[in-house]
C-alpha cells in the first residue's frame, strides 16, 4: 500500500481538523443565510394594493393597565441651581480648522441625548427650540401605498398578509407568487390585535413553508426579516436576532432586525429557512400602528404556528379584536394580586361588579403575581373570550369571591393609526435639572 499520498493528505488535513469549533461564525453564516433565502423565496409573496382612501379609524378609549397619572402629579419645579462662577475648564476637543475659542461648542457636533426613562409626555413640558427635533417621533406617519409582503399559508391559496396593507381600505389587492403569477385576492378575516389579515387567491399547488412553534424559538437566535417590497428575484433581507418572546401580551416575537414597510407581511425566518413569524407593525398600547418604530431595532413578528384556531376563525371571515376587561390598576401595589383603582363605565369589569380597592387574586385558577402579570393573563385574550376571577374585596375580613365568567369586550380602539394626534407609547426627556 502506498502510504505516502495518505500521509501527505493527513498532514494537510490535520491543521484544519485541529481548529476550534467556531472558525469565524459569520463566515459560516453567510452561505447558511443564502440557503435560507433560497428556501424561503418561493413562499414569500408580493402584495400590491390599489385604490382606497386614507381615513383614520377607531376612537380613543381607556385601556386595562396602570392608571394614568392624576393631574396633580405635575412635574415639580426644582429651583435652578446656581452654577459656581468658574469659566469653562472642561477640555473641549477642538478642530484646528476652527477659530480657537475654547469655550465655543462645536455647533456641528451632534448632541447625543440621554435616554429618557420612559415617562409619559406631560403636555405642560415646554420644549426648547433647538430641541424640537428631540421631541416625540412625529405621530403622523404617512403611509405610502407601496408593495408589501405576504406568506403562503396553504397550497390552495390562503395567504397571510399584514393588516398594515389594508389600512387604506384598498379596492384592489393583487398577490404575486414568484414563479406562479399574479392573482386577484379576496379580503377575508383579520386579527387586529396581531396585525395580521387573511386573503384568498384562487390557485393550487403553492409551496408552503415550515412554521416553528414559539416553544421552540429561543431569545438570541438568528432572525432574518424577509420582504418583497423592492421587486427583484431575491427577497430583501434584514439581519437580526430574536429579542424577546411573548411580547404584546403573548402575541408576537420581538426582533431587532429592522422592520418597516419594506418587509411588513414578510416572513421572519431562522437559519433553516423556517418561518418564526410574520413581521407587522404593532404597539403595546394598541393605540397606533407602531409604524413610527420602523427601522429602530424594535420590531415585531406575530407568531403563526401557535394560533391555528384563530386562523380558522379568520378564514371564516371573523374580525378579531383585542379583549378589554375595563380595569385601572395601582402601580404601587407590588403584589400579590392586582389592585384595582378604577373601573371605567361600559367596561365588562364594572358590569361584573368589580370596584375600586378590590384585589384580583386569580385568573382562571392562575395566581396573579402583580399588576403586570395580570395584564399578561387578560390582555392576551380576544374580545368575546371569557375569564373567571377570584377577587379579594376591599373589606378586610371578607373571603375572596369568585367573579365570572366575564366576557371581554372588543377593545374600543383598534391597532390602526388614529391620526395626527396619535402618539407612540409615550416617553419624555427628563429635564437635566429637574422635573419628572
Amino acid at each position: 500500500m502506498n502510504l505516502r499520498p495518505a500521509i501527505v493528505l493527513f498532514g494537510l488535513l490535520l491543521p484544519l481538523a485541529a481548529q476550534p469549533g467556531n472558525v469565524d461564525e459569520f463566515l459560516k453564516l453567510e452561505p447558511v443565510l443564502q440557503a435560507a433565502l433560497k428556501k424561503a423565496g418561493p413562499y414569500l409573496v408580493t402584495v400590491e394594493t390599489f385604490g382606497g382612501t386614507r381615513h383614520t379609524l377607531g376612537k380613543d378609549g381607556p385601556m386595562d393597565g396602570p392608571a394614568p397619572p392624576t393631574p396633580r402629579q405635575k412635574p415639580k419645579q426644582v429651583p435652578k441651581l446656581e452654577p459656581k462662577p468658574l469659566p469653562d475648564e472642561l477640555p473641549v476637543p477642538l478642530d484646528p480648522a476652527q477659530p480657537a475659542t475654547p469655550s465655543e461648542q462645536d455647533p456641528e457636533k451632534h448632541e447625543p441625548v440621554p435616554m429618557p426613562d420612559g415617562k409619559p409626555q406631560d403636555p405642560q413640558d415646554k420644549e426648547k427650540d433647538d430641541k424640537k427635533k428631540l421631541g416625540l417621533v412625529a405621530g403622523g406617519f404617512q403611509q405610502a401605498q407601496g408593495k408589501t409582503s405576504g406568506i403562503v399559508l396553504t397550497s390552495d391559496g390562503w395567504i397571510m398578509i399584514s393588516r398594515f396593507a389594508l389600512n387604506l381600505d384598498p379596492t384592489t389587492i393583487l398577490i404575486n407568487v414568484p414563479g406562479h403569477g399574479t392573482y386577484h385576492a379576496q379580503r377575508v378575516g383579520e386579527d387586529t390585535s396581531r396585525g395580521i389579515a387573511l386573503v384568498k387567491i384562487e390557485v393550487e399547488g403553492l409551496p408552503v413553508p415550515e412554521f416553528v412553534h414559539p416553544d421552540n424559538i429561543h431569545v438570541g437566535q438568528w432572525a432574518f426579516a424577509l420582504g418583497r417590497t423592492f421587486a427583484e428575484d431575491d427577497p430583501t433581507v434584514h439581519l437580526g436576532i430574536v429579542s424577546a418572546k411573548q411580547r404584546l401580551f403573548g402575541r408576537a416575537l420581538q426582533i431587532d432586525a429592522y422592520t418597516s414597510p419594506a418587509n411588513y407581511g414578510g416572513a421572519v425566518v431562522d437559519i433553516h429557512g423556517r418561518v418564526l413569524g410574520i413581521a407587522v407593525p404593532l404597539s403595546p398600547s394598541g393605540r397606533n400602528a407602531g409604524v413610527e418604530w420602523y427601522d429602530s431595532g424594535i420590531g415585531f413578528a406575530t407568531t403563526i404556528a401557535d394560533i391555528p384556531d384563530l386562523i380558522e376563525r379568520m378564514k371564516n371571515g371573523e374580525i378579531l379584536q383585542r379583549g378589554w376587561l375595563g380595569v385601572q390598576l395601582s402601580t404601587s401595589h407590588l403584589g400579590p394580586g392586582a389592585k384595582i383603582t378604577g373601573t371605567p363605565k361600559d367596561g365588562a369589569a364594572k358590569e361584573a361588579g368589580l370596584r375600586k380597592g378590590d384585589i384580583i387574586m386569580k385568573v382562571d385558577g392562575v395566581d396573579v403575581l402583580n399588576g403586570p402579570h395580570f395584564m399578561m393573563l387578560v390582555s392576551s385574550r380576544l374580545g368575546g373570550d371569557s375569564c373567571t376571577l377570584v377577587v379579594q374585596k376591599k373589606q378586610k375580613d371578607s373571603e375572596p369571591v369568585e367573579v365570572g365568567p366575564i366576557v371581554l369586550k372588543d377593545a374600543p380602539w383598534s391597532e390602526q393609526r388614529k391620526g395626527k394626534e396619535d402618539l407612540p407609547a409615550s416617553f419624555s426627556l427628563p429635564e437635566p435639572e429637574g422635573g419628572r
Binding site: G21, V32, P112, M115, P116, A138, G297, N370, P430
Partner: protein, 601 residues
C-alpha cells in the same frame, strides 16, 4: 484509510451545524445573563429604565437619570416599636428595679435609626424593580454619580437570605471595534413580563468622549459606541460581550431627524470606569468626578515651527492644582498616569473617569523662555471635584444615602467574593523608606507585630487578651513598657494595614468593618473599609482583595496619614498634602525569627 475518512468527515462539517452550534451557545449565554437584567421604575410614576444585578446580594447598576434626583418631600419613616420579644427580654432583665420603659424604647429606636436609615440630607423613595421571574421588588437607592450617570440600587429581599442571579463586570479596555456585543433592557417598557429585550450589534467605536448636559452632569468621558439597537427605556441596562460579562451600561443615543428612536448609534458607560466608582456607589455615597482644573488642546503644526504636534495646556488658573505644581500655559503634556497622551480628547477621557480626590501623576515639558521646550518633568497632584451643580448631601462621611445595614451587607458580599486562601502562615516584612532616610519597618507573623520607627522599636505581642500589656519598646538603649500613644500606634497599624494581614485572615480582620467608599490607588480602584474604634482607621483593598493601602490618625505624628500601596509603589499623604520621597520594599518569609519578638533579645 479509516483514519483519513474520519478526519475528512470532521473537517467537512456541514456549515449549518457549526452555525447552529454557535447559535445554541449564544442562546445559552444570553439566557443566563438575562436573568440578572431588570426593569427599574418609580413606585407610583409611570416610566422607567433598566438595570443589571451585579452581585448576588441584590446590588443593581443603573443610570442616574433613571433614578432621578432625590425626592425632596420624602421623609424617612419613623422607627418602629421594638418587637415584643425584645421588650419582654428587657423587662425580665430589669425586673425588680424601676426601669423607664419609654427611655429604653427611645434608645432602641435611636439605635435602629443608626442602623437602618441613611444619614444624608435628602433621600429617595424606594424604586420598583421588575425581574424576569415576573416579580416586583422594592429597591433602595444607595449611591449616585450624577457626573457620569451611574447609580446603584439594592433589592429588598422577599424572604430572608434571598439571593439573585447576577453578572460580573468585564474588562472594557479589551474591546475592539468590530467585536460583537449584546444590549439588554426594557426599551419602550415593552417587557410587560419583565423579560428583557436583547439586541445584537458590534462595537462601533471605543473611548468616545461625550459632553454632558447642563452643568457637566451626565458626562460620558470614556464610552463605548455600539450599533446594537438601543432605545428609550434601555437606559441603565447592561451591554454584554460574547462571554456574558457586563462591559458597559447603556445610557445615551444619538438621534437623527426621526425623533427618539435608534439610528445605529448608542453609547454605553465603560465597565472599567464603573469600577472606579463602585466602592463609593455601593457604600451609598454621592460621588464627584475629578478635574485637573485645566484644559488642553491639540496642535498640529508641522515640525520645525514653534509648536510641534502634541497636546498643550490651553487654559488654566493661577491657583489651579496643576499650576501650583508648576504646570504653565503652553506647556506640552506628554503623559498622564504613565499613559502617553496623544490627543486632547484622550486626556479628557483619562481624567474624566476618575473620582475627585484621586492622586495622579502628570508629565509635562515646560515651555522655555527662549522658545522650545525644557526637559520632561513629572508632577503629582490631587484631582479636585468637578461641580455638577447637583446638591451634595452634606459633607464628609455623613453624606450618605446608604444605611449602615446596607454598608455591612456590601462589606460582607465583597469579602465573600474574594478567593479564600489557605496558605500557611507567612511572615511579612514591609519596609518603608521616607524622605531624608527615615525608615519604617513592619514585621508581623499574623499575630505579633514589630514596628521599627526611626531608631525605636515597638513590639506588640498577642493582643487576644485585649489589654495590650504584653508588649514592649526599645529606645535609647533601654527596654521599657509601651506608652499609651505607642500602644495606640501599634493597634492602628495592626488593624488597618492589610499589607500585614495574612490572606486567610482578611475576612476576620474585616469582621466588624463597614464599607465606606472607594479610593483610586496608583491607577486601580479599591474599596475603603472603616474599622471600629478610635483613630479614623481605614483599610483599603483592591477589587480582587489584594492590599491597596490604609489610613489612620497617627498619634505620634499627630496627623492623619494615608498610605497608598500597590506592590512596590508607595505614596504617602499627610493631612491631605503629599509627602514625597517614600519608597517601599517587601519580603515574605516562612518562619518568624523569634528574636524579633523577645524582650530580652
Amino acid at each position: 484509510m479509516m483514519l483519513l475518512a474520519v478526519l475528512a468527515s470532521c473537517v467537512m462539517q456541514d456549515p449549518i451545524d457549526a452555525v447552529a452550534a454557535s447559535e445554541a451557545h449564544r442562546v445559552a449565554v444570553i439566557d443566563r445573563c438575562a436573568q440578572a437584567v431588570c426593569s427599574v421604575m418609580s413606585m407610583d410614576a409611570p416610566g422607567g429604565g433598566s438595570g443589571v444585578i451585579f452581585d448576588p446580594a441584590g446590588f443593581v447598576l443603573t443610570n442616574y437619570h433613571v433614578v432621578g434626583k432625590p425626592d425632596d418631600d420624602y421623609k424617612l419613616p419613623d422607627p418602629p416599636q421594638p418587637p415584643e420579644a425584645v421588650l419582654e427580654a428587657w423587662r425580665q432583665q430589669t425586673e425588680g428595679d424601676d426601669p423607664d420603659e419609654a427611655a429604653f424604647i427611645a434608645k432602641w429606636q435611636k439605635e435602629w435609626r443608626r442602623e437602618h436609615q441613611p444619614s444624608g440630607a435628602s433621600h429617595y423613595k424606594n424604586k420598583k424593580i421588575g425581574l424576569p421571574d415576573g416579580k416586583l421588588y422594592e429597591g433602595v437607592v444607595l449611591g449616585i454619580d450624577p457626573g457620569s450617570d451611574l447609580a446603584v440600587i439594592r433589592l429588598l429581599p422577599k424572604v430572608a437570605g434571598q439571593t439573585w442571579p447576577s453578572c460580573t463586570l468585564g474588562n472594557s479596555d479589551a474591546l475592539l471595534v468590530g467585536e460583537t456585543v449584546f444590549a439588554m433592557g426594557n426599551p419602550f417598557l415593552l417587557a410587560t413580563d419583565f423579560t428583557p429585550t436583547v439586541t445584537f450589534g458590534i462595537v462601533s467605536g471605543t473611548h468616545r468622549y461625550q459632553e454632558g448636559q447642563g452643568n457637566r452632569m451626565l458626562v460620558y468621558p470614556d464610552c463605548i459606541q455600539v450599533d446594537a439597537p438601543v432605545n428609550p427605556g434601555n437606559s441603565g441596562g447592561p451591554l454584554f460581550n460574547e462571554a456574558g460579562e457586563v462591559i458597559g451600561i447603556n445610557g445615551r443615543i444619538s438621534i437623527g431627524d426621526r425623533g427618539r428612536v435608534n439610528v445605529g448609534v448608542g453609547f454605553a458607560i465603560a465597565a472599567n470606569q464603573i469600577k472606579n466608582f463602585l466602592g463609593d456607589l455601593v457604600a451609598g455615597r454621592h460621588t464627584e468626578h475629578g478635574t485637573l482644573d485645566m484644559s488642553a488642546w491639540f496642535m498640529n503644526s508641522r515640525a520645525g515651527k514653534t509648536h510641534k504636534r502634541g497636546v498643550f495646556v490651553q487654559q488654566t488658573f493661577a491657583d489651579s492644582i496643576v499650576a501650583k505644581a508648576g504646570v504653565a500655559l503652553g506647556d506640552e503634556i506628554t503623559s498622564f498616569n504613565g499613559i502617553e497622551v496623544r490627543s486632547a480628547n484622550q486626556l479628557a477621557t483619562l481624567v474624566g473617569v476618575l473620582p475627585a480626590g484621586t492622586w495622579v501623576t502628570l508629565s509635562h515639558r515646560p515651555q522655555a523662555a527662549l522658545g522650545g521646550f525644557g526637559d520632561e518633568r513629572e508632577v503629582t497632584v490631587k484631582l479636585t471635584a468637578l461641580d455638577t451643580g447637583s446638591s451634595r448631601d452634606g459633607t464628609g462621611d455623613d453624606a450618605r444615602l446608604g444605611s449602615r445595614i446596607d454598608r455591612r451587607i456590601a462589606k460582607d458580599q465583597i469579602v465573600n467574593s474574594w478567593p479564600e486562601s489557605s496558605e500557611p502562615g507567612v511572615t511579612v516584612q514591609w519596609t518603608r523608606r521616607g524622605p531624608d532616610g527615615s525608615k519604617l519597618v513592619a514585621i508581623t507573623d499574623g499575630e505579633r507585630i514589630r514596628l521599627e520607627i526611626a531608631r525605636s522599636v515597638l513590639v506588640s505581642l498577642d493582643e487576644k487578651e485585649g489589654d495590650g500589656t504584653q508588649g514592649f519598646a526599645k529606645a535609647n538603649g533601654e527596654v521599657r513598657d509601651l506608652t499609651a500613644d505607642e500602644r495606640e500606634r501599634l493597634r492602628r497599624e495592626r488593624i488597618s494595614n492589610p499589607v500585614l494581614w495574612p490572606r486567610a485572615a482578611v475576612a476576620a480582620h474585616l469582621q466588624h468593618a463597614l464599607l465606606v467608599g472607594g479610593v483610586h490607588v496608583h491607577g486601580a480602584p479599591a474599596y475603603r473599609f472603616a474599622l471600629p474604634g478610635d483613630g479614623d482607621c481605614e483599610a483599603w483593598l483592591f477589587l480582587d482583595g489584594t492590599p491597596a493601602g490604609f489610613a489612620f490618625r497617627d498619634p505620634m505624628r499627630r496627623a492623619h496619614v494615608q498610605w497608598f500601596v500597590r506592590d512596590t509603589k508607595l505614596r504617602v499623604v499627610v493631612d491631605g498634602e503629599l509627602e514625597t520621597g517614600w519608597s517601599s520594599g517587601m519580603r515574605a518569609t516562612g518562619k518568624p525569627e523569634d528574636q524579633w519578638f523577645r524582650r530580652d533579645a
